[in-house]
């Protein structure tokens, strides 16, 4: 068997005139934690739906766990677990019944079924609440239950579509830790989509940045951030730095420097160890530093760098697009 959990070539999905996914190609190694990052409407969910056999690609190829996503659908299905973006639980059933339903659909025998259900309930800490109807669950509990469900049949590959969307910070943290543990302890390959930069940064070994159906970048979060050239130190100073700016620029470790209205901003690597040096230099030369600010580049900056827009602007324009489309559709209906 190959070392790749997922191999995708030129995958494309068109919905009536809109290209949702536009010829993406990538591979995910076995055991990797891989992230798809991008704003709403970038095509992340469509990608997941194609890889999990819920949607047929318009063109291109995909292989999941060594099986073709079009020709060997049932083999793909047997080997994957999916946690969808929107809740996919039957709220009229209890948590245990939801898990039982799933285990039986995946053909687990009774004894195995009971053991696994105990095991995953313990994993997500829902053992005491297993016999409550899901309609009485909170958002975080539902999410945990869904993750548990995705694991019962021990899939090789787990798809998590926006696993922490709409959850509070504390629950989000816990789910992140579950995901990490799963990946390292159970050796599961995990593909997650998110539009939270911190999430991708915290969890993923590699991140593909997606925009308008295409990959604009694919690398480890660290290396993506390195592309931006390092940290930014901003100094607020009193008085005119004058020719001192030129002398600062001569430091080997300063990659670029901008001076503007009493603010100096320097791009450097390892900003935290350069701050003392900068302060000493300023004091020696009679410059009073009023305040220092260090900013590490985030994936948000990376996104901005690759798409020329922030995510929020991106989403605004996407929703405008959607709105226009909807209006068009309504008009046609009339």
């Amino acid at each position: 068997m190959s070392r790749d959990a997922i191999r995708v070539e030129n995958l494309t999905k068109r919905f009536k005139g809109i290209v949702a996914v536009d010829g993406i190609s990538f591979t995910v190694r076995k055991g990797e934690l891989f992230g798809l990052l991008g704003p709403n409407g970038a095509g992340k969910t469509t990608t997941i739906n194609m890889l999990s056999t819920l949607l047929n690609p318009t063109s291109g190829q995909g292989e999941v766990a060594g099986f073709d996503i079009l020709r060997n659908r049932d083999d793909v299905r047997r080997n994957i677990g999916v946690v969808f973006q929107e809740t996919a639980l039957d709220t009229k059933l209890t948590a245990r019944e939801n898990l039982e339903f799933h285990a039986m659909m995946y053909g687990l025998a009774k004894k195995e079924r009971e053991e696994r259900i105990q095991e995953v309930l313990r994993l997500v800490d829902l053992k005491e609440k297993a016999n409550i109807l899901v309609e009485n669950y909170s958002g975080g509990m539902k999410r945990r239950l869904e993750i548990a469900r995705g694991l019962i049949h021990r899939p090789q590959i787990l798809f998590l579509d926006e696993p922490t969307l709409g959850l509070d910070a504390q629950t989000r943290r816990r789910i992140w830790d579950y995901i990490r543990d799963l990946n390292s302890e159970v050796q599961i390959t995990i593909i997650l989509t998110t539009h939270y930069m911190e999430e991708a940064d915290y969890l993923c070994e590699r991140v593909a940045i997606m925009d308008c159906g295409r990959f604009v970048a694919l690398d480890s979060p660290q290396r993506l951030k390195d592309i931006l050239g390092g940290d930014v130190i901003s100094l607020e100073i009193e008085g005119e730095p004058g020719e001192l700016v030129r002398r600062m620029e001569e430091f080997k470790w300063v990659k670029s420097l901008k001076s503007h209205n009493g603010f100096l901003s320097l791009t450097v690597e390892k900003g935290e160890i350069r701050i003392p040096e900068l302060i000493t230099f300023a004091q020696k030369n009679g410059l009073y530093v009023r305040c220092v600010h260090l900013r590490k580049p985030s994936l948000e900056d990376v996104f901005l760098n690759f798409t020329g827009r922030t995510q929020r602007e991106q989403e605004a324009s996407a929703s405008q697009r959607n709105w226009k489309m909807k209006r068009g559709r309504m008009r046609r209906r009339r």
């Binding site: 739906n49 999990s52 056999t53 819920l54 949607l55 047929n56 049932d74 083999d75 299905r77 047997r78 994957i80 999916v82 969808f84 929107e86 809740t87 996919a88 639980l89 039957d90 709220t91 009229k92 059933l93 019944e97 039982e100 339903f101 799933h102 039986m104 659909m105 995946y106 053909g107 109807l133 469900r149």
Partner: protein
């Protein structure tokens, strides 16, 4: 391959949901019972051309109301795929390694059981209103017809659910398909009184044969001979199930 476990677990889910939503049971029973009570008592003494003088209107009405209850709850069950889509659970079903035919069979098993349970309750209540079943054989035959009616309209519901992608379509189907099917079937009044055009339309309504078959076995009065309506119902039900499965298979689940 047919997956028996999957069919069973889909059926089981439907049973649990049915038992837990009491409002659904009462809701589904209420309308047929109103029809039975108000029409049955209100028109008790009426004599309609087409109904034998010896047969009370209520005896004529009970098979019609059974057909009505089966029609509505089965179509509703078939359409409940739309609910599952709305609430996301359909994805959980569709991503499982179970072939689509088994999923359809599981749904039909669940829907048919709930529809049958409801109409059996109505039959029991109508016994309290003075309705009498002629023999055990006629009861058994009635159950066969009830099953055929139920599967026919489950298939029909599935076809519509596969073709629509939101809940808006639901009331359209109910008003423009299900209600006309009900009124055309002669469930409330003998078909003989319909104008010619409507009578032809009634001939392509599966419920016409379902209700007629039920009348034939329950009260011994019918428009068509029993084997005639039985064969037609078997064909309708087979065609609808196959078509429902076909369209469901073709539909995309997201």
């Amino acid at each position: 391959m047919i997956n028996a476990t999957a069919i069973y677990v889909l059926w089981l889910r439907e049973m649990k949901r049915f038992m837990r939503t009491k409002s659904r049971i009462f809701g589904a029973l209420a309308m047929p019972l109103f029809f039975l009570a108000f029409l049955g008592f209100g028109l008790r003494k009426i004599s309609l051309p087409g109904i034998d003088q010896e047969i009370d209107y209520i005896r004529f009405l009970v098979p019609g109301v059974l057909g009505m209850s089966l029609l509505f709850s089965s179509a509703f069950s078939g359409l409940s795929v739309l609910w599952d889509r709305e609430f996301g659970f359909l994805k959980e079903i569709m991503v499982a390694p179970v072939n689509r035919v088994s999923i359809v069979l599981g749904r039909i098993a669940g829907g048919a059981t709930t529809a049958m349970l409801q109409s059996i309750m109505i039959l029991v209540i109508s016994l309290g209103l003075g309705f009498r079943v002629r023999s055990l054989l006629s009861l058994a035959l009635a159950l066969v017809f009830m099953l055929l009616i139920s599967t026919t309209f489950l298939g029909l519901g599935l076809i519509f659910a596969s073709k629509m992608n939101d809940m808006q379509g639901f009331s359209i189907v109910m008003n423009f398909v299900i209600f006309p099917l009900f009124f055309l079937s002669g469930a409330l009044s003998p078909l003989e009184n319909f104008p010619k055009a409507l009578r032809y339309l009634a001939m392509i309504d599966p419920l016409t044969y379902g209700v007629d078959g039920l009348r034939s076995v329950l009260i011994g009065v019918s428009l068509y001979p029993l084997p005639h309506s039985l064969i037609i119902m078997v064909i309708f039900s087979a065609v609808m199930i196959v078509a429902g499965a076909y369209f469901f298979e073709k539909s995309e689940s997201v």
